[in-house]
Amino acid sequence: MAFWIVQSLNGISFGMLLFLLAAGLSLVFGLMRIVNLTHGSFYLLGAYIGLTVIERTGSFLVAMVVAPLCVTLLALLIHRFLLRRFHHMELAQVLLTFGLLFIFADLTLWKWGGSSYVLPKPAFLATSLTIGSIVFPAYRLFVIATGVVIALLLWLVLERTTLGSMVRAGVDDEEMVRGLGINTPRLFTAVFALGAFLAALSGVIGGPFVGAYPGADFEVLLLALVVVIVGGLGSIRGAFVGSLVVGLIDTFGRALVPELAMFTIFAPMAIILALRPRGLFGRI
């Protein structure tokens, strides 16, 4: 019994981590049709910058604020000067973000070296909760909580605020929205920056979990793609559900059938692709 509870909690916490990773990608893709391959780099940059901030200031909370802000600034510049000129040219945008992925991979290797780092957890979360016979790390519960909070915030912003409706309208019919006097290029830059913010935040929060090391950007990107494909392209709700599904399947897969450990991440994806390429909640 304890086994099932612990593994379920493991699965949910991993799923929430995946959601944090994938939310940014799903947002940018769903709203702007850009497959932002630099997403992985934003994660890694967030994690590395968070690491440096924690080393300098000793505070996890400061890192949680500073690192995403730095990365957001970078993303603003990237979108404004590189991606915006290729508006509606999706292939060009993908190829550009892809080149940036390689560039950032090398730059981070240069700055932070080849070692594999794990971010230190904040002291008050570095404990374990004991309920009966179950011992579970507090930090994973924190990750679950953060995932849910961010999901709620995103949903609130997109569905219940004027800004959110502007963004949704801008995607559906850009010319009309422009005609209404709304500055869509700036709007899209803001959305891209939000996506990067989420990626970097997941870098800091996932850092104690996943860590920061050369190659993490590719791995995280793949994980995020799996979630987005399973959950459905363009839907935050899909990303949430998809990440939970993938997290649980993967955790139980590793726990019960460890020989297929790597395959359990890609199996749900393969099934969805074969049966329903749109994804669970896709809005193509």
Binding site: L91, F102, A105, E259, L273, P277
Partner: protein
């Protein structure tokens, strides 16, 4: 009559010169050139999909790696005749291309990209996880080059001989691709790339053309995979990974999408940077990324495309490349 044959004669002479000149180089550089040819084949197959048909595929390494693994497994476990193994390997990559083509061609644009990537990752996951069969992350070492006995009395262990063998395969495949690209089929593909709706209106079976292009691309990638296995003597899940597909894409874009030999140029750039520039600076990947960005921003036809566009009229010939 002679004028028709003249380009062919020039080409043959050029290739003979190449084969001879290469023998004078140290073995390290012969090896690098061999790698350029092999990866060039891989990139050319992707170019057929991306540059000529407009299908963006981020999972092209799937066919490359599948053929490589088939070849490796057959050579190591069953020790069959290398021709039979090669045929089986190409067969496997064709089957996978057939299956993946059905799934991927249901979508277009960025969706196609993501789905092809996902499909390749599935294959990667199998290669990584199925340790007993594929050796998992440790890979399959110790694959020896075949003894061709009857055809070539020289051993393929010698790098120069192996290069010549690869060059022969390369020339044959390029000739075949040339025929494809300059046939009505090829023109139809380019028409589809430019506007699917238009071709559809004109009455062409767009889906079938795309599917056949997919198959051809998968097969050629398979051939590249076979050569790769013999070159390195080793195969691992890296040959199926996103990084491998990404490199192929890089080679196509940098070299010249939509040309014929452009991707080989791109392969040359990548191999050159990775092996030679890396001896002088560790930041070769950064240089590669920057070149790539420059190409995407300023010369979307790639290096070869840009060169071709700038040449004065009187140098141009009917022979398309």
């Amino acid at each position: 009559m002679r004028r028709h044959f003249w380009p062919g004669i020039k080409l043959t002479l050029g290739l003979l010169c190449l084969a001879v000149v290469v023998r004078l180089l140290p073995t390290y550089y012969i090896g690098l050139l061999t790698e350029v040819l092999i990866l060039g084949l891989f990139a050319m197959s992707l170019n057929l999909l991306l540059g000529h048909t407009g299908i963006p595929s981020l999972g092209h390494a799937a066919y490359f790696g599948a053929a490589a693994y088939t070849m490796a497994l057959l050579s190591l476990r069953l020790m069959q005749n290398c021709w039979v193994s090669a045929a089986a390997a190409v067969g496997v990559s064709l089957v996978i291309a057939a299956l993946y083509g059905l799934l991927a061609l249901r979508t277009s644009g960025v969706y196609c990209m993501m789905i092809t990537l996902a499909l390749a990752q599935v294959l990667w996951g199998i290669a990584y996880g199925w340790r007993t069969m594929t050796g998992g992350d440790d890979g399959l070492p110790g694959i020896a080059r075949p003894d061709l006995g009857v055809l070539l009395p020289w051993s393929l262990q010698d790098p120069a001989n192996f290069f010549t063998a690869v060059l022969i395969v390369f020339v044959v495949v390029v000739a075949a691709l040339y025929l494809v690209v300059h046939s009505p089929f090829g023109y139809t593909l380019r028409g589809i790339r430019d506007s699917e709706a238009r071709m559809d209106c004109l009455g062409y079976n767009v889906w079938l053309h795309k599917y056949v292009a997919f198959l051809i691309a998968g097969g050629v990638a398979g051939i590249a995979g076979i050569l790769f296995v013999y070159y390195h003597g080793f195969v691992s899940p890296a040959e199926l990974s996103l990084v491998q597909s990404a490199e192929g894409l890089l080679m196509v874009i940098v070299g010249g999408a939509g040309t014929l030999l452009g991707p080989v140029l791109g392969a040359g750039v990548v191999v050159f940077l990775r092996n030679i520039v890396s001896a002088y600076t560790e930041r070769w990947l950064l240089v590669l990324g920057l070149i790539y960005l420059l190409v995407v921003l300023c010369a979307p036809h790639g290096i070869l495309g840009a060169l071709q566009a700038r040449l004065p009229r009187w140098l141009s010939r009917r022979a398309a490349l």
